[in-house]
């Protein structure tokens, strides 16, 4: 039975393979060109090889490979893909045309091999390529692609490469004599040059590495390293990859000897030295009186810090479980997430949400844009958002919450009989929930252009006044609840205020294990 089933499966695959079709065809074209002319090549899928020669013409060989489900699909692919030859001897354009909407029945790549006079300038636009190779060209070279390996070999003129993914390789058999600019998002950049080359090196990476076997002398300015090899002067090699590795290697030296240029991560946990630039730092436990961590770009995840911590990141996520001491975090961007914070905290991010499960002794949390969520505040807290909600699920201490735009929601612990609270939003609603026995002096103010939609609702008996103010309506509710107490100030512009009295279950916070 098994053999029969296996035979059936094999037969099915064999028949499917028998129906699948592949078509490979070639076309050749020769075009005259001026020695100082420009060759433009555009191809979205496949490869491009441009080689400089001593001839005064452009020789193009186009290989079209089409895979289809059947012959009809291949025929459809052939009809859909074409290569255009346009221009004049000053500018030659070789462009492969693909249909704007892909037909799932077939796929195709086009491999272009182009021989040009070595003195011409070359401009290439590629998509998802297997490779782009330019060799023995003395004119300027410009390449813009999405992915694939880009190889520039023995290019004498100025060159510029812009790509996203893949790899960029510069190979200089002779000393570089013209400026180079490579800009990549995720691609690695490798530059090979003779050991005695003299050039300026400007390199940048945010999460990747800068490596070199040259004797480079220079300095970091922010994320950018500027230095020179061998002697000052010479052309400038600008290599920038946001998330990729940049390496500058002298020919004849093994990459393992490359020196790392790192300014990106410092941690006093490892003796104050530089750590390799890593996207993610994960440490389960830190036993240290004060753990300092500084990173240009890194995601930081720490389970427990048995001591205080000071973290500075240019960007990245920060996720810390328990901190027994004080906590200071300053992030240039990225969400901050904290579990149980036993001592006062001071955390800030330029952009992103801030989530604190428990802030036993309060502190301050701020974001230039994002939501602030605090599950439990045991100490006074100052919360600031440049735009986003502020939510405190339960507080047993004073809260001072201000947001530029967003709702503020505060729930006061039933264990507190009176407490000072301030909540101000420039665009949004304020909701305050207290227990029926909570006592306070309420001062709530709504400033709105739509007095019907925005109003003050209260479960307590408050004195409400309305007045016109600068074309808007000011609704003010004041009064003492349960005989009066600490002052509660609530301000909502273009929003409502809701003060409600509910029976609240006190939050039970268990102590972390020492």
């Amino acid at each position: 039975m098994r053999i029969r089933a296996l035979t059936a499966v094999l037969a099915t695959f064999a028949s499917a393979a028998a129906f699948a079709a592949v078509s490979v065809d070639n076309a050749t074209r020769e075009l005259p060109i001026d020695p100082t002319g420009t060759v433009l090549v555009s191809n979205a899928y496949g490869s491009i090889d441009v080689v400089g020669t001593d001839e005064n013409k452009v020789s193009v060989t186009v290989q079209r490979i089409i895979n289809g489900a059947d012959d009809a699909a291949v025929a459809a692919g052939k009809d859909s893909i074409d290569t255009l030859f346009e221009g004049d001897p000053r500018v030659r354009l070789i462009k492969t045309i693909y249909p704007s909407v892909r037909d799932p029945r077939w796929s195709a790549i086009v491999n272009c091999t182009i021989r040009v006079p070595r003195t011409v300038s070359v401009k290439i636009v590629g998509g998802a390529m297997d490779h782009i190779r330019v060799a023995q060209i003395l004119g300027n070279v410009t390449i813009n692609a999405f992915s694939g390996t880009i190889i520039l070999s023995n290019v004498g003129g100025a060159s510029a490469v812009d790509t996203v993914n893949g790899r960029v390789i510069f190979d200089y058999p002779q000393r570089p004599t013209a400026n180079v600019r490579v800009h990549a998002v995720n691609a690695d950049i490798d530059v090979y040059a003779p050991r005695d080359s003299a050039f300026q090196w400007v390199a940048e990476t945010l999460t990747g590495e800068l490596l070199s076997t040259f004797d480079i002398r220079g300095l970091f300015t922010g994320n950018i390293y500027k230095g020179h090899a061998n002697s000052a002067g010479g052309p400038t090699l600008t290599t920038s990859s946001l998330a990729g590795r940049v390496s500058l290697l002298a020919k004849g030296t093994p990459p393992t000897q490359a020196r790392r240029f790192a300014q990106t991560v410092r941690s006093n946990e490892r003796g104050g030295g530089a750590m390799p630039a890593t996207r993610k730092i994960q440490i389960p436990f830190i036993y240290q009186q004060l753990w300092g961590f500084e990173a240009n770009v890194a995601d930081v995840a720490v389970g427990e810090i048995h001591g205080s911590a000071h973290i500075e990141t240019g960007a990245g996520e920060v996720d810390i479980g328990v901190v027994w001491g004080n906590l200071i975090v300053n992030s240039g961007g990225g969400p901050l997430k904290f579990g149980d914070l036993l001592k006062p905290v001071d955390v800030h991010t330029d952009a992103g949400d801030v989530t604190i499960r428990v802030a036993r002794q309060g502190g301050s949390a701020s974001t230039d844009g994002g939501i602030i969520r605090v599950l439990y505040a045991g100490g006074p807290m100052t919360l600031r958002s440049g735009g986003g909600d502020i939510v405190v699920q339960q507080t047993a201490a004073p809260i001072d919450a201000v947001t530029t735009s967003g709702d503020i929601s505060l729930t006061v612990s039933p264990t507190v009989k009176t407490q000072k609270m301030t909540a101000k939003t420039s665009q949004g609603n304020v909701a305050l929930v207290v227990s029926p026995t909570f006592a306070a002096d309420i001062d709530a103010l709504v400033i709105t252009g739509d007095a019907d939609a925005n109003t003050i609702r209260s479960d307590f008996n408050l004195t409400i006044r309305r007045e016109a103010y600068n074309g808007k309506t000011r609704i003010r509710a004041t009064g003492k609840i349960n005989g009066g107490g600490e002052r509660i100030e609530l301000v909502a512009e273009d929003g409502s205020i809701n003060i409600s009295s509910q029976v609240i279950a006190p939050m039970v916070i268990s102590n972390p294990r020492q």
């Binding site: 998802a128 961007g333 939501i371």
Partner: protein, 342 residues
């Protein structure tokens, strides 16, 4: 002219108290002694009373303007024009004449017209059409509870929906409840995937101005309801995309983009619409949190293998290389690009 005729002519002026004292006294004495004139005087008084009870009709502005234009005196009167002098006595006479005409006309009409009589004909039932279920009567009530199946998915016009509240109708989360004020309190109950419920939710999300304060709560609720597997609906994604594009509150936009991030990727027009809204937010929203969540949502799309169009790729590429953009946004853009499979 007999004395009675003379007295009848004086009656309108007597009615308006325009007669001089001597003549007024004389007229009153005649009416007391003359039965015919006494009857006429009583009729005059009755008509005058009825006229007072008639509603005052506002003169249309157009007629008033035309009239004033006709009677307005020129700036300087020509020398041959004699100014018109008011004669109150004649005015009252004219009013009294009008009263007489109206009263006489009413009297004539009342006595000369007969009531129309309709011949009675017996009713006959020609055919009977049975109905399947009893017709539900429209109830006049302070609050009404309706199943979503009874709601037409097509919301006509722009009804003014206020005080929107969301609840779960049952513990198994299969039923949801949306309550709001329209002309009375209406509560609609149904499954989140019911078309009427989706349309109602979309209307609540997209309707501007008056729903502003409650929109953020609506988005919170949508997030918890429609992020569940099986509940995702393209119309909800479209509504959130519209909120992300149009709402002036940054806090609301943050919630909208965060909710879009949690919704399962949709297909078709809705997917393109969502993607366009995310790109727009990533390009130009002033709040960095919105841009972060937008780029994270696009990164999620790329991670799932969803094809990204050229516009999306270009925007991500632009953001990754934009020096003045927040580094975290740049990193997320790079991350999204690294997952793209062209």
């Amino acid at each position: 002219m007999s004395e009675c005729d003379f007295m009848r002519e004086s009656m309108p002026m007597l009615l308006t108290e325009s007669l001089d004292p001597v003549r007024r006294e004389h007229t009153h004495q005649h009416i007391e002694h003359c039965t015919a004139c006494s009857d006429d005087w009583t009729a005059y008084q009755e008509t005058w009373r009825v006229l007072e009870e008639l509603p005052v009709v506002e003169v249309p502005a157009r007629v008033k303007d035309r009239f004033l234009a006709q009677i307005a005196p020129p700036a300087t009167l020509p020398s041959n024009v004699v100014p018109f002098t008011r004669r109150p006595a004649l005015k009252w006479i004219a009013q009294a004449a009008a009263v007489v005409v109206i009263a006489g006309g009413s009297y004539f009409t009342g006595h000369r017209t007969k009531p129309v009589e309709i011949q009675r004909t017996p009713a006959q039932v020609t055919s009977v059409t049975p109905i399947g279920a009893p017709q539900s009567q429209f109830s006049i009530a302070e609050s009404r509870v309706l199943p979503a199946s009874l709601i037409n998915p097509n919301i006509e016009g722009r009804p003014d929906i206020e005080n929107v509240q969301f609840e779960r109708a049952s513990t198994n989360d299969e039923q949801i409840t949306l309550a709001f004020d329209i002309t009375s309190r209406v509560t609609v109950t149904g499954r989140p995937t019911d078309k009427s419920m989706v349309r109602l939710m979309r209307y609540v999300l997209e309707n501007e101005d008056r729903l502003g304060p409650s929109r953020s709560r609506a988005i919170d609720w949508v997030k918890t309801t429609y992020s569940r597997p099986g509940n995702a609906d393209p119309e909800i994604a479209t509504a959130l995309a519209n909120v992300l594009r149009n709402d002036e509150h940054q806090g609301v936009r943050i919630k909208a983009v965060e909710t879009l991030k949690t919704l399962q990727p949709s297909v078709g027009v809705s997917a393109a619409d969502t993607r366009d809204a995310l790109i727009e937010a990533l390009k130009s929203d002033p709040n960095p949190a919105v841009r972060i969540k937008a780029v994270e949502a696009l990164a999620n799309l790329a991670r799932t293998g969803a094809p990204l169009d050229t516009e999306t790729l270009n925007t991500l590429r632009l953001k990754a290389g934009q020096d003045d953009e927040n580094v975290y946004v740049r990193m997320k853009a790079a991350e999204a690009l690294s997952n793209v499979k062209p």
